[in-house]
C-alpha cells in the first residue's frame, strides 16, 4: 500500500495522544491546575493534530461531516464518533482538573475508555480489509493498542508501567511482523484464484492493461526492497522500545532522558507505521503480477 504521510502521521500521533488521554482519564498522573493544562494541551495537540492530518488524505474534506452517518457498518464512521466523543468527554474532565481542581472520576474513566475505543476503531479500519492479508489479523489491533497504551504511559511519566508496556509493545510488534510475513501466502488468494486460470497451468501476467501507471498501481502496489525492510524493522524496534527502555533505566538526567525516550519512541512508531503501509500487499497486485 502507498505509505501516505498524512495517514502515517495521523495514526501514529493520534495513537500517542489518545494513549496519553487514557492515562490522564484514570488519574495517572493525578495532576490538576497548570500541570494538568500542560498535559491536556499536549494530548490534544497530538490527537487533534493527527485527526487534522488525516483530513489531508480526503478528496473532499469539506464533506467530512457526512462520515458520521454510517456507523452501523463502517469502522471509519465509528472512528469519527469515538474520537469526537472521547475528545468532548475528556475536555469536560480536563476542565474540571484545570479550572475547578476537581477530579470527576466517572467522566475520566469513560473518557479513557472512549480514547482507547478510538484507537481500536482506527486499527479496525485496517483489520477489516480482507484484501490486505497482512492487516486482516487480530495482531493489528493488538499492535495499535499496545503502542498507544505504552506511548501514553511514557508521555504520562508513568515510568514503571511504561517500561513494562514498552517491552510488551515491542514483543507484540515483532509477532505482528512475523505473522504478517506469512499472511499473503496463507490467505489462499493467489494468481490462480484471481484469474481462475490455474486449472490450465501456471499463470503469468503477460501484459498489463495499459503501458502507463494508474491509481491502482500507485495506491496498492507499493513494492519495498526486502533488504530495506529488514533494516527499517531493526531501526523501528530499537527506537520504539529498546532506546526508551535504556533511557528510562538510566539513573541520571531524569527529565532529559524522559524527553529523549518520548522522541525516540515516536520516531520508532512512525517508522513502524510507515512499514505497516509500505509492506502491506493488496491482493489486486496479483492481477498485475506484482506479488
Amino acid at each position: 500500500m502507498h505509505p501516505a504521510p498524512s495517514v502515517i502521521l495521523f495514526s501514529s500521533l493520534s495513537g500517542l495522544g489518545f494513549g496519553l488521554l487514557a492515562w490522564l482519564g484514570i488519574g495517572l498522573p493525578a495532576v490538576t491546575g497548570w500541570v494538568a493544562f500542560v498535559f491536556f494541551t499536549l494530548a490534544y495537540l497530538l490527537a487533534v493534530g493527527g485527526l487534522i492530518a488525516s483530513m489531508f488524505h480526503l478528496g473532499h474534506p469539506e464533506r467530512a461531516l457526512k462520515a458520521f452517518t454510517q456507523w452501523r457498518s463502517s469502522w471509519l464512521s465509528r472512528e469519527a464518533w469515538a474520537s469526537v466523543a472521547a475528545l468532548l468527554v475528556m475536555a469536560a474532565y480536563g476542565a474540571g482538573l484545570v479550572f475547578f481542581d476537581a477530579r470527576w472520576w466517572p467522566l475520566g474513566v469513560i473518557g479513557a475508555a472512549l480514547s482507547l475505543l478510538t484507537v481500536l476503531t482506527t486499527s479496525m479500519i485496517y483489520t477489516q480489509m480482507k484484501t490486505v492479508p497482512r492487516w486482516h489479523s487480530l495482531w493489528t489491533p493488538a499492535n495499535f493498542l499496545s503502542l498507544s497504551i505504552a506511548g501514553g504511559a511514557l508521555l504520562a511519566g508513568q515510568v514503571t508501567e511504561a517500561m513494562v508496556l514498552l517491552a510488551l509493545a515491542g514483543v507484540v510488534q515483532i509477532v505482528t511482523w512475523w505473522q504478517g510475513d506469512q499472511a499473503l501466502a496463507s490467505s489462499g488468494t493467489d494468481m490462480a484464484t484471481a484469474t481462475r486460470l490455474g486449472d490450465i497451468g501456471s499463470v503469468r501476467a503477460f501484459e498489463p492493461p495499459h503501458t502507463g501507471s494508474n491509481y491502482l498501481l500507485r495506491e496498492f502496489v507499493y513494492v519495498l526492497g526486502r533488504k530495506h525492510a529488514a533494516k527499517l524493522r531493526i531501526i523501528a524496534i530499537l527506537l520504539m522500545a529498546f532506546v526508551p527502555l535504556l533511557l528510562l533505566l538510566s539513573p541520571v538526567l531524569h527529565h532529559l532522558a524522559a524527553a529523549l525516550a518520548v522522541l525516540s519512541h515516536a520516531a520508532g512508531v512512525l517508522t513502524a507505521r510507515w512499514l505497516f503501509f509500505a509492506q502491506a500487499e493488496h491482493v489486486v497486485g496479483l492481477y498485475y503480477g506484482k506479488r
Partner: protein, 254 residues
C-alpha cells in the same frame, strides 16, 4: 445507506467469455467514452500526451500467459470491471453512505455528491474495480451503464452496457443472473462460469467463462508429418554467384 440489502430483486451483471475475448480493448474505449460524457464526474486523464500518461478507467483488459504442464502456452485476455458483488465489501466500509447497492437490480453505485474521497472502498475491493479520479477527488466505478440499460431515449438494441454493445467478439453478455432461465444464467451453467477470488467471500454477480480446451499444435517432429509445401519454401539462392560471389569470398578471406 452502506449496509447491504438482504436480498435484491434482480442481479444484473455481466458474463465474460475468456474463450472468445480477443483483447482488442474496444470495451475499454467505449466504456470510457460513454462514462466520461454522461453520468457523474468525467473520467479524467493526467498528462495524456506526456511521458507518463495515466487516467481513470472503469474497465481494464489484462493479458495472461498460462503454461500447461505439456504443450504450448495459452494467451488469455482478461477484461475486468466491477463485479457488482452480492456481499460487496466496498459498500459496507464507506463512512458516508455514498456507496450503495440497489435493491431493485443489485447494481453497486457511488453517489458522487456524498463521496469524501477517502479511498477506503477501493482498498476493500479485491478486484481493483474502483478508481479515485485524480481531478475530481471522488470515487469512480462501473455503473453497469445504468444510464443506458433503462434509457428509453435510446433505441432498444442500445439498452445494454456500452462494453457489451461494442464487443466485436461477443465476449461480453449482459443480463439477470438471479433468473435461472435468463440467457446469461444458461450460458454460465453450460460453460461452467466461475467467480473470481471466491475465497474473498464477495459473491460476485459477474461470472467468467473459462477458456475451452485448445487444439494441440503439433510440429512435424511430433507428428511425423511433413508439410507438402516445405520443399518449395526452402531458400532458393544459397549465396551470391559470379562476380558478387567472388567478391564475397575474397572479402571473407581478408
Amino acid at each position: 445507506m452502506t449496509t447491504l440489502p438482504q436480498h435484491t430483486d434482480r442481479k444484473l451483471g455481466l458474463v465474460i467469455d475468456l474463450d472468445t475475448c480477443v483483447g482488442c480493448h474496444a470495451c475499454v474505449i467505449s466504456c470510457k467514452g460513454w462514462n466520461t460524457e454522461n453520468y457523474g464526474a468525467p473520467l479524467s486523464d493526467q498528462s495524456a500526451y506526456g511521458a507518463d500518461p495515466s487516467g481513470t478507467f472503469l474497465n481494464r483488459v489484462h493479458s495472461y500467459e498460462v503454461q500447461p504442464e505439456v504443450g504450448t502456452a495459452h494467451l488469455v485476455h482478461f477484461p475486468k470491471s466491477c463485479l457488482h458483488c452480492d456481499d460487496a465489501p466496498c459498500v459496507t466500509v464507506c463512512p458516508t453512505g455514498a456507496s450503495y447497492k440497489r435493491v431493485e437490480d443489485g447494481i453497486v453505485l457511488v453517489n458522487e455528491s456524498d463521496c469524501i474521497g477517502c479511498g477506503l472502498c477501493a482498498w476493500a475491493c479485491p478486484y481493483g474495480a474502483r478508481e479515485m479520479d485524480v481531478a475530481e477527488g471522488v470515487m469512480k466505478k462501473c455503473t453497469l451503464c445504468v444510464d443506458r440499460i433503462y434509457n428509453e431515449n435510446l433505441p432498444e438494441e442500445d439498452r445494454e452496457p456500452a462494453c457489451v454493445r461494442t464487443c466485436p467478439a461477443n465476449a461480453r453478455h449482459f443480463g439477470d443472473l438471479a433468473d435461472p432461465n435468463s440467457a446469461v444464467s444458461q450460458l454460465v451453467a453450460e460453460r461452467g462460469g466461475v467467480d473470481l477470488m471466491p475465497e474473498q467471500g464477495t459473491k460476485p454477480v459477474n461470472k467468467y467463462l473459462p477458456p475451452r480446451a485448445r487444439d494441440q499444435l503439433q510440429g512435424p517432429e511430433d507428428s511425423g508429418e511433413i508439410d507438402v509445401l516445405a520443399p518449395f519454401l526452402a531458400p532458393v539462392d544459397t549465396g551470391p554467384k559470379g562476380f558478387l560471389g567472388w567478391l564475397d569470398r575474397t572479402l571473407e578471406k581478408l
